[in-house]
């Protein structure tokens, strides 16, 4: 069955450092991968999308990589701030009807001042 793992249930880093979150998957052939941010008690909010034929995507302090050979995506937040503290979810999707979004369990990031 499809499985997505996000290394580290929780990650603590110091303000100003780069946070790196990992998403690994098995038994899935995603066409693209998305990252979401979720604050406590709220719904997830979309951050970035990367397609299977793209190696890297950037948006401001965020960077995502996608390696379909390793079946892995890395999500980086540079110059991290306490306001970046949240749970980050990766989600896989394909173009096939009947095979829909699959979310990872999430990594809870805490940026310490």
């Amino acid at each position: 069955s499809q499985k997505i793992e996000q290394n580290s249930e929780a990650l603590n880093i110091q303000e100003g450092k780069t946070a790196t979150l990992t998403c690994n998957y098995t038994n899935y052939s995603p066409a693209y991968l998305q990252w979401y941010r979720q604050d406590p008690g709220r719904g997830p909010v979309f951050l970035l999308l990367i397609r299977e034929n793209e190696k890297e995507k950037r948006k401001e302090r965020l960077k995502v990589t996608f390696d379909t050979t390793l079946k892995q995506s890395l999500f980086h937040i540079t110059a991290s701030q306490p306001a970046d503290s949240a749970t980050y979810l990766c989600a896989l999707d394909s173009y096939n009807y009947g095979q829909n979004f699959v979310f990872g369990p999430g990594t809870r990031l805490s940026v310490l001042p």
Partner: protein, 114 residues
């Protein structure tokens, strides 16, 4: 901005009650989804709908049903609530499935079944 609203933020029901959770989106999205989120288990898909009157089972449909009579509204129904259905329920919508559009989530309904 896309807005997805859910009928209640908090709900307390008794075992055996029929429960309706409503979700409305205002951007003419074709696809709508219902998830539940539990600690350690992440987001799990209950049902989704590609279009009006269409529905597909997700990973955990047992004990739930859905209704989509209008494009903007997607309802989740717990026919006979049980304590193991205590959870955070999240509704989401997406423009369509043909292209990689993101999902927009509602604020969630925290349901407690006693």
């Amino acid at each position: 901005d896309v807005k997805v609203t859910q009928s209640s933020r908090y709900l307390v029901k008794r075992t055996g009650e029929k429960v309706f959770l409503e979700c409305v989106q205002d951007m003419d999205h074709e696809n709508m989804f219902w998830y539940r989120q539990d600690p350690g288990l992440g987001l799990r898909l209950i049902y989704f709908s590609y279009d009006v009157k269409m529905k597909e089972k997700g990973d955990i449909p047992e004990g739930y049903s859905v209704s989509r009579e209008k494009k903007e509204r997607f309802s989740l129904i717990l026919e006979s609530a049980s304590t193991n259905q205590t959870s955070m329920y999240l509704c989401a919508s997406r423009l369509q499935v043909k292209d990689p559009y993101e999902q927009y989530f509602g604020p969630g309904t925290r349901l407690t079944v006693t």
